[in-house]
């Protein structure tokens, strides 16, 4: 008799989902599926809207990473206007994108994942939250608050508000940077970097205790993809796509990301609203690749900033050139955050950062635009087609979580095979299935929910659809 275990909903991620684990007659795991159960429909919602509305509409996709959509959307609009933002406008966009990287990475590491890392995956769920972290390791909790606040404040100071700022526009940004704002941001950077480095030190001192999880949390061979700059270092805003296989060989390099459709396929499964993106040469579903902080560190030659380069060297000494476990997203996320904070300082110390020339103006000069940038969770692609009046006729979004969808499914299967030992539902399995998804920090929408507000439900369902077992947390 075959059975299913359903975990619904998954908690401490951005959005709504559930997991189904399929068992065979012997109670062994045969398959696992990560379902995204919410429907958004932004690609259809924007049809018929004028192009100048696109950045603001697209930013509403997410309340955690609106800036990422704002950046990619504005870049797509740049192409439709056939303009390049003035250099200062582009640099100011970079600063806001990096601030977004910092605050979102901080949310993932400190608020969502550090309770698991600090207390262990089998600790009482009532303890595994930031209050528990504050009581057990107040410095870690303070640093989490401080680092996220640092990123949020930069976004707010630049854009006027920390969620859905409208400062990034087609052609550049809406207003130049004031000297006072620049100096205010610069004054906060040393403490932010110190906090990130304290968290890194704590993580590295604790890493041995997670060896078991590192060997089972999505530990498999796959390709990795991310943007790199002209020197091959990490690039967050522009650059070219690089894809590296599990042995460190380049599958592709120097790809203009606007040609993404030549390389990436998008598959749709009936059991999820989340598309599965795959590397076309390897086909579906074998063309698994990963994006996000771990991928950025793997595909890049260096981070490109002094402190992050030192940390990346150590990361590679500890884990190898192409670490295969998705558990290492946590470690990579901290280095990624450090790199972003350093880049912010570099940009703000640029000689032209206060220039008043921050925006290019133009009408509709092209019927198609593709904007690509790195979001906290990985490479983000916005692709629009418009008519001659600039009315959107078609849109396609390739979101980082979609790139990682196949890898997340494979990771859930690996954890389930390791920890599901019978048709009975047990906490250790539940904790780890959830935690492996959290490694990827999937952002399924702007919706936010918390453990405790939405009950955690696991159902064991027989082949006839009857409920065999159920757990509620």
């Amino acid at each position: 008799m075959t059975s299913q275990i359903v975990i619904d909903p998954i908690t401490r991620i951005e959005g709504h989902s559930k997991i189904t684990i399929h068992l065979d007659d012997a109670g062994e795991v045969t398959d696992a599926q990560f379902h995204v159960t919410q429907f958004r429909g932004f690609e259809r919602i924007v049809q018929g809207r004028p192009i100048h509305e696109m950045p603001s509409i697209m930013a509403r996709i997410c309340g955690i990473c609106p800036v990422s959509h704002l950046i990619a959307s504005s870049k797509a609009c740049d192409q439709i206007l056939a303009v390049e933002p003035p250099p200062t406008g582009a640099d100011l966009r970079r600063v806001m994108n990096l601030a977004q990287m910092v605050q979102s990475n901080a949310l993932s590491f400190f608020h969502l994942s550090s309770p698991d890392l600090l207390f262990g995956f089998d600790a009482d769920p009532a303890k595994r939250n930031i209050i528990g972290v504050a009581q057990a390791n107040p410095q870690l909790a303070r640093d989490g608050v401080g680092v996220r606040r640092f990123g949020q404040q930069i976004i707010e100071w630049l854009g006027g508000k920390r969620i859905h700022p409208a400062w990034v526009v087609p052609g550049g940004v809406d207003a130049p940077l004031a000297e006072e704002t620049r100096d205010r941001i610069l004054s906060t950077i040393p403490e932010a970097i110190a906090a990130i480095e304290r968290a890194l030190a704590w993580y590295k001192s604790s890493i041995l205790q997670w060896e078991e999880e590192a060997s089972t949390f999505g530990d498999f061979r796959s390709a990795f993809m991310g943007l790199v700059d002209q020197d091959g270092n990490i690039e967050y805003y522009d650059g070219s796509l690089r894809v590296m296989d599990a042995d460190g060989h380049l599958l592709a390099d120097r790809i203009d990301p606007r040609g993404y459709q030549d390389y990436l396929g998008e598959a749709v499964e009936p059991w999820s609203y989340l598309k599965s993106t795959y590397w076309k040469v390897l086909g579906y579903p074998d063309g698994v690749y990963r994006v996000g902080p771990l991928a950025r560190l793997i595909v890049a030659g260096q981070a490109g900033t002094p402190r992050a380069d030192i940390e990346l060297d150590e990361f590679r000494r500890r884990l190898g050139r192409v670490p295969s476990s998705s558990f290492h997203y946590h470690y990579a996320r901290l280095i990624d955050t450090l790199c972003a904070a350093e880049r912010i300082e570099e940009l703000l110390r640029g000689p032209d950062i206060l220039s008043p020339r921050v925006r290019s103006f133009a009408g509709i000069n092209s019927n198609e635009g593709i904007g690509v940038s790195e979001a906290p969770r990985g490479t983000l692609i916005h692709h629009y087609r418009v008519d001659d009046d600039g009315i959107v006729e078609w849109a396609n979004l390739v979101i980082a979580t979609g790139h990682n969808n196949l890898a997340m499914n494979r990771s859930v299967l690996q954890v389930a095979k390791r920890y599901v030992k019978s048709a009975h539902l047990e906490e250790p399995m539940l904790n780890r299935v959830e935690a492996v998804i959290r490694c990827f920090d999937p952002c399924l929408s702007c919706s936010t929910h918390a453990l405790g507000e939405m009950p955690l439900q696991i159902q064991l369902i027989g082949p006839d659809g009857a409920l065999l077992d159920e757990l509620m947390r």
Binding site: H111, L112, A126, N129, I131, Q135, R142, V145, G146
Partner: protein
């Protein structure tokens, strides 16, 4: 108690007003409306005012730095326009399992755990008539905006005058 027409700005120092909710959901934006009014009202000069979609851990630092915190939120359930004022008990905020947004007791508890200070915190909840998409308050909620402002003024004045502890339990205006 009598509320002075003009609170001295000095008396307002150390007070924080946070209006939170979704300003695109009609009455859920009452917190934002009140925060905007406080920021523009000379009676409240010196008060720090924040507008937020939800309470997040990052607010713990702001809370810890204040002597008085007033949180303004929408409430579904009570009759539209009802104003309820509750003193937050931080002891109620340690046993929950939230992640990245939290309730008032959690916020106060976090401020205490991380920064060693848990100030006097009140939540002003306003009963809503509509949570539909929209940027305007319903007439029933719009009518009590001035009443909410007066409640805040009383709380600020009471704290500044160092009179006995603020409003406790629940009251209705």
């Amino acid at each position: 108690m009598t509320v002075p027409a003009n609170l001295s700005s000095l008396a307002n120092l150390g007070s924080l007003v946070v209006g939170y909710g979704n300003p695109l959901r009609s009455d859920d934006g009452i917190g934002w409306v009140i925060a905007g009014r406080v920021a523009a009202d000379p009676r409240f000069a010196g008060i720090e005012v924040l507008q937020r979609h939800q309470l997040t851990p990052e607010l713990a630092l702001d809370v810890s730095r204040a002597d008085l915190v007033v949180l303004v939120d929408a409430r579904s359930g009570p009759p539209a326009g009802t104003i309820a004022v509750e003193r937050v008990d931080p002891a109620g905020g340690t046993g929950t399992t939230w992640s990245h947004h939290l309730g008032p007791p959690n916020l106060v508890a976090l401020a205490r755990e991380l920064y060693g200070r848990a100030p006097e915190v009140h939540v002003i909840g306003v009963g809503v008539a509509s949570l539909e998409v929209g940027e305007r308050l319903s007439p029933a909620v719009e009518r009590v905006v001035d009443d909410v402002m007066d409640v805040i003024a009383r709380l600020v004045h009471r704290t500044a005058a160092a009179e006995p502890q603020g409003v406790t339990g629940s009251s209705h205006a």
